[in-house]
């Protein structure tokens, strides 16, 4: 635990301090992230921007506890997760993070309801409560009428709504959206962004990773990454 003051930590859901991530490819060291520091407070809506190869994806993986920094510290919801083992990182993903992916990533053989229930299942919430909450969430994203459908029977926009409901299932501290509109047409993109805006207004902390400026404009704050460094950080 860092000795930083308690009040400060509580307000900050995400805090990165001098995060570096190196890869060794064919004997050569590539600096994907080269000393990144920033913090995000509870209830904020951030967009992370940057061209491909900027280190944006690496940053997202570290923020999402899918990867660990080579050096530096990362506090997620008050806990330093930078050097945790795989099991404990998994637990943090389960409780503190809600992922929304570009290609939705719903489990194809599970129904809409089962997909939404999945994070709650891994958390050990009883079946009855899971179903009740999953139905509530489906209603929130306006997917109540498709509960027993399989993902392949849904349109892209509908799939992304289900994915949002699933991301909200364990009421995570941070919603992490990776190009959520990348596979959607402009009309559905706007609808999804409206949904995000709604969630933000309800007090959710959202981190949106995108390379599209009009999508990034939906967010209140912005970080621009380039060559593994933060180019711009605007609240």
């Amino acid at each position: 635990m860092d000795s930083g003051n308690k009040k400060h930590e509580e307000a900050e859901v995400v805090r990165l301090k001098n995060v570096e991530r190196y890869y060794t490819v064919g004997g050569e060291t590539v600096k994907a992230l080269d000393g990144v520091s920033f913090s995000i407070k509870r209830g904020q809506y951030w967009a992370i921007m940057g061209p491909s190869g900027s280190g944006k994806s690496t940053l997202l993986n570290i923020l999402g506890c899918l990867d660990r920094p080579t050096s530096g510290e990362y506090w997620l919801n008050g806990t330093n997760v930078a050097h945790m083992d795989d099991d404990r990182l998994s637990d943090h993903r389960l409780k503190n993070l809600g992922f929304i992916f570009q290609s939705f990533h719903l489990v194809p053989q599970l129904t809409v309801l089962e997909n939404i229930e999945m994070p709650m299942f891994y958390l050990g919430i009883p079946q009855a409560e899971r179903t009740r909450r999953a139905k509530e969430l489906a209603e929130k994203v306006e997917m109540s009428h498709r509960l027993s459908h399989l993902p392949m029977e849904l349109s892209g926009g509908q799939r992304q709504r289900v994915a949002v409901a699933r991301a909200l299932a364990n009421n995570p501290a941070v919603l992490l959206a990776d190009e959520p509109t990348g596979n959607l047409d402009s009309k559905t993109s706007v609808q999804i962004m409206e949904l995000f805006k709604e969630l933000h207004e309800q007090g959710k902390t959202i981190i949106l990773v995108t390379h599209e400026v009009d999508i990034a404009d939906f967010a209140k704050s912005r970080i621009v990454v380039k060559d593994g460094k933060i180019l711009e950080c605007r609240e």
Binding site: N61, G64, L66, D67, D86, D87, S90, D91, H92, R93, L94, K95, L97, F99, F101, H105, L106, V107, P108, Q109, M118, P119, F121, Y122, L123, G124, I125, P126, Q127, R166, N170, N171
Partner: protein, 438 residues
Amino acid sequence: MEKFLNAENDNRMKKMSFFSFYYPFIKLGVTDVWRHKTRSFLTMLGMVFGVGSVIAMLAVGEGASHQALESIRRLGSQNIILSSVKPTSDNEASGVSKSAQLAMYGLLNDDNLRIRETIAGVEDVVPARMVRRNARFNERRIELRVVETVPTWFDVVPRPVLAGRVLTQKDLDANANVCVLTEFGVRKLLAARRMIGQCVRLGQEVFEVVGVVKNESGGNVRAPDSEADAYIPMSTGAKVFGVANIRYVSGGMEGERVELSQIIVKMNSISVVEAGAKAIEAMLKRFHKKPDFKIDVPLSLLREAEKTKRTYNIVLGAIAGISLLVGGIGIMNIMLASVTERTREIGIRRAIGARKSRIVIQFLINTCVLSITGGLVGLIVGVVIPIIITVATKMPTVIQPWSMGLAFGISVATGIVFGLYPALRAASLDPIEALRHE
């Protein structure tokens, strides 16, 4: 909402019951098997044949050995059976003038006495002389084996008395013309009539039927009793049939003189049977220059049969092991393919927060669903095949209840053993890479 999700989450994970934890995985496994019906069926065939053959072969083997062991047990495990055999050398020597010669060989009354007097641990010695005679009752006729013996025969070769009585010492002392028939002979000869008290003709003599016994030898060639026997007192036999047995063959007569056809020695405990048999053999060899007798020890036969059964079980186990190995490899192969096919799903589950162990459990259960389903189908096959065999060939089969438990255990074990590698491989996938997989 916020409160229960953060404070109680850790407790919930531990509180979950066994069933509610595994049920979704079982459901997922069953759906997965059902979705790939053909593939699952072909994968399961290995298990089906493996488990099915174990149960079926155990049932057939147990049926056969049960029959063999039972018939050996009926010979009496405390008994030593000595029988006269015609020495082969004697046969050749008498080849030239066989019409004139009387072949003399076999066990003697003296042997009977010698065994009784000199061998330790002997409880009883029963001599018997067997001749084949035609039995007649009115117009009915049947060839019987006439056993001239003493009353203790019925103690040494016990069998249930169906009607009347067995031979007594009084019959022996009086040279009485009485006989005890076996059930089969009675049915052939007397048909539906009241059996006891009837007079039947054995050879040229008339005998009164005083008893009927059940015959239980079950077709074993070494059994002292046979299907169609007539038991008469030894003294009567000597009086009416003599000791020479003369048969008329084409071109002349063939005669042989055998004093005793069989001597049954009953030892007073099972532990001395084999030593007793050795002592008797050594003693008799001193008096018999020609090999004109043989010794059967039912206990040794029993031991041998049990040894054979054990060997059979080892071979069976090896066959079962190989087929299950092949079946298990088939399942592992399919599961590895399944892991590749479901890479993205694994990535999604890991990204959402499933620990590696959860992925391992999911794939292990999936494999077990396959292997257990295969095992259950194999169990049905293994139960049905022996029934078909019994119905079709009248061969007895005994389905061992424990073999079914074994089959289930083997199915689960195969699932775990061969599912472990694919499951570990699934869990070790890097979530980032797995999510990118197309």
